[in-house]
């Protein structure tokens, strides 16, 4: 077994041990009753053609926390967000083509936004590590939306691929460090 694999296994074991101390968000089920727990204070990477729909369902299930939503260009439609049951007064939008690191850090550090959504435009592990530490400290969950492949960076605790299925989602878990993924009747 290589060093990288050993490290990955150790991190996974550590995450499982810590999961008893973690708090979790209410999460939506997919078409088969499958659900995936999302812990507070972690970095989550999402991909797939229905990840935003899933995310909005998650926000609807947790109706109180404020949301900080970063985008490169304004693409998400606020009317659609409201129609999915998420109040627009909860969301602060940020459109920026510049470096998103600084605003994300500020939002994470403040601790006022338990949900933070941003495009995954980062590559370096230290950046993810910083996000992970800040998220853990403030108990905010950072959702990074990937349009390409999932990143191999270790500070990301949960990687989900969510695609559209007839009348619902199909969820594929690529990495789950905290909590569990389980299905009803599976």
């Amino acid at each position: 077994m290589g060093k990288a694999e050993v490290l990955s296994q150790l991190r996974s074991m550590l995450g499982t041990a810590n999961s008893f101390e973690k708090k979790f968000w209410a999460t939506p089920h997919d078409a088969f009753g499958f659900t995936c727990s999302v812990a507070k204070g972690i970095v989550v990477e999402l991909a797939g053609n229905a990840c935003h729909e899933w995310l909005l369902t998650l926000f609807k299930l947790n109706p109180e926390p404020l949301i900080f939503w970063c985008e490169r260009a304004s693409r998400i439609h606020p009317t659609a967000i409201r129609q999915r049951g998420v109040k627009l007064s909860r969301i602060k939008f940020l459109n920026s083509t510049e470096d998103l690191q600084q605003p994300l850090r500020m939002a994470l550090e403040s601790g006022h936004y338990p949900f933070i959504v941003a495009p995954n435009v980062f590559e370096q592990v230290p950046i993810f590590q910083k996000f992970h530490l800040l998220a853990e400290k403030s108990e905010s969950t950072l959702f990074l939306i990937s349009e390409k492949e999932m990143t191999p960076a270790w500070p990301i605790s949960l990687q989900l691929e969510i695609n559209a299925a007839p009348n619902d989602f199909s969820i594929t878990v690529h990495r789950q460090r905290h909590g569990t993924s389980h299905g009803v009747g599976l």
Binding site: H52, E53, R75, I76, H77, L88, F93, M106, S110, H112
Partner: protein, 446 residues
């Protein structure tokens, strides 16, 4: 009347202290660098004397000042008691007569006469104010005339004292000159000084029950041939009013670091000045210990200000729904109401379901039998929803708008049939057809 007197043994910034005491009472007087008088008798329903003393200690501690504080029934006795640190008027030394006769130390002739009178009394064996009070008034007036009568009346509180007018400065300005210590464009020393200036400014504003809305920081540099314009002014127009140093300093730091990076300071800094340009009322009440929502809102406002400074006002916003059937115009950006609940249930009840994403401009697509061609790529149609959403209008746009855009006026009209299409692989798209039977991709689910 109940008057509190703060006596400073060393010359102190009494004007600053007086400004901070505005929270306790509007009736304040000062005696040149040594004493502040506050009339608290009329505020007895608002706070007790013990509560007042406790709050005053906090104000003094914040300013690193020490003062003896006494509460009396008039300016004169509170001053004399505070100055000589005695608990009864009778035990005061004879020198206290100076404070009784001229509490604001403005009449030098009177003071000279009283000093002479005091030395005469000493020769007669009178040691303190208690002894002085026992002298019959007729003897006193016969021996010392008007001065003796004046002192006697003041001791008996028979002669009222007019409070000299004192008003806080209209402009709140903090300035620091650097005559010897020269530093150039390093940000840290500037921020260090700015922090102390902001601390003082916010204390002054807090006393007046205000928050800052607009602030100007002037960095005054030495005038050299390289620097023809030595004063660099930075104006901060805050989106949400600021009430604390911590958040404001972060905003200042953000702007200054950007500006100094673009245009560094090339000559030594001579002075740093911070001036409040605009204020607004703050919540004058006490902090709610059971609910921190106000503090949270202030912190959110501060974060919002910092983000505006970092990314620009147009890029930080909240969304609000608008009653318009065109999907691209069905919402607008709002900047002035952070996380304030808005009732949009009526609008949302009348709006058909929208996809999560919208294209900036509709993308022309081709629809053939069983396929949609998007960007020359063929996608098989899995399901074409027969429900059509027809929107049509624009001709009733206001005449003003039409006259402003005579060339583009036609663009304001719209006539679209929207369809929801599911492609192979589960991707759903939102397309519309115009009267020319052309199809456009306008949005997609995701």
């Amino acid at each position: 009347m109940r008057v509190a007197c703060l006596w400073f043994d060393e010359p102190s910034p009494v004007l600053r202290v007086a400004e901070m005491c505005l929270r306790f009472s509007p009736q304040i007087a000062v005696r040149d660098k040594h004493a502040v008088f506050i009339e608290i008798g009329k505020c007895k329903r608002l706070y007790t004397e013990a509560g007042f003393l406790a709050r005053l200690q906090v104000v003094l501690r914040r300013n690193n000042l020490t003062a003896s504080v006494f509460i009396g029934s008039d300016i004169t006795d509170s001053l004399a008691l505070a100055r000589y640190k005695k608990f009864s008027v009778d035990s005061l030394p004879l020198e206290a007569l100076l404070d009784f006769a001229d509490p604001f130390a403005r009449d030098e002739v009177l003071q000279k006469s009283i000093t002479k009178m005091i030395s005469s009394f000493r020769d007669l064996g009178i040691k303190n104010v208690g002894d002085f009070k026992q002298i019959p008034s007729a003897d006193l007036i016969g021996r010392f005339g008007v001065v003796g009568r004046h002192c006697y009346q003041r001791l008996q509180q028979e002669s009222p004292i007019q409070w000299p007018t004192w008003k806080p400065e209209e402009k709140i300005i903090e300035r620091k000159e650097f005559p010897y210590f020269e530093f150039y464009g390093e940000l840290d020393p500037i921020l260090f000084e700015l922090k102390s200036q902001l601390d003082r400014i916010f204390q002054r504003l807090w006393a007046r029950g205000l928050k800052v809305r607009k602030l100007q920081v002037d960095v005054v540099c030495e005038k050299t041939s390289l620097v023809p314009n030595p004063v660099r002014a930075f104006i901060f127009d805050f989106f949400a009013p600021q009430g604390a140093t911590k958040g404001t300093l972060k905003i200042l730091k953000e702007r200054l670091s950007k500006e100094f990076e673009k245009d560094p300071i090339k000559s030594p800094i001579e002075a740093l000045q911070t001036q409040v340009l605009a204020t607004c009322p703050a919540n004058p009440g006490q902090r709610n210990f059971l609910n921190s929502s106000e503090e949270k809102l202030e912190q959110l406002n501060s974060l919002h200000n910092q983000l505006i400074e970092l990314c620009g006002k147009e890029n930080i916003f909240q969304a609000e729904l608008v009653a318009d059937r065109r999907p691209e115009r069905s919402w607008k950006k709002t900047h002035d109401r952070p996380h304030e609940d808005i009732d949009d249930s009526k609008i949302i009840a009348q709006t058909p379901e929208r996809p999560t994403f919208f294209c900036r401009t509709p993308l022309k697509v081709e629809v053939t039998a069983g396929f949609v061609h998007i960007n020359k790529k063929r996608h098989r149609i899995a399901h074409w929803d027969p429900t059509v959403e027809r929107i049509n209008g624009g001709w009733i746009e206001t005449a003003v708008e039409m006259t402003q855009l005579p060339q583009d006026g036609i663009r304001l009209t719209f006539d679209r049939n929207y369809y929801r299409v599911e492609l192979e692989g589960g991707q759903k798209v939102f397309v519309f057809e115009n009267p020319n039977h052309e199809f456009f991709l306008h949005g997609y689910y995701g």
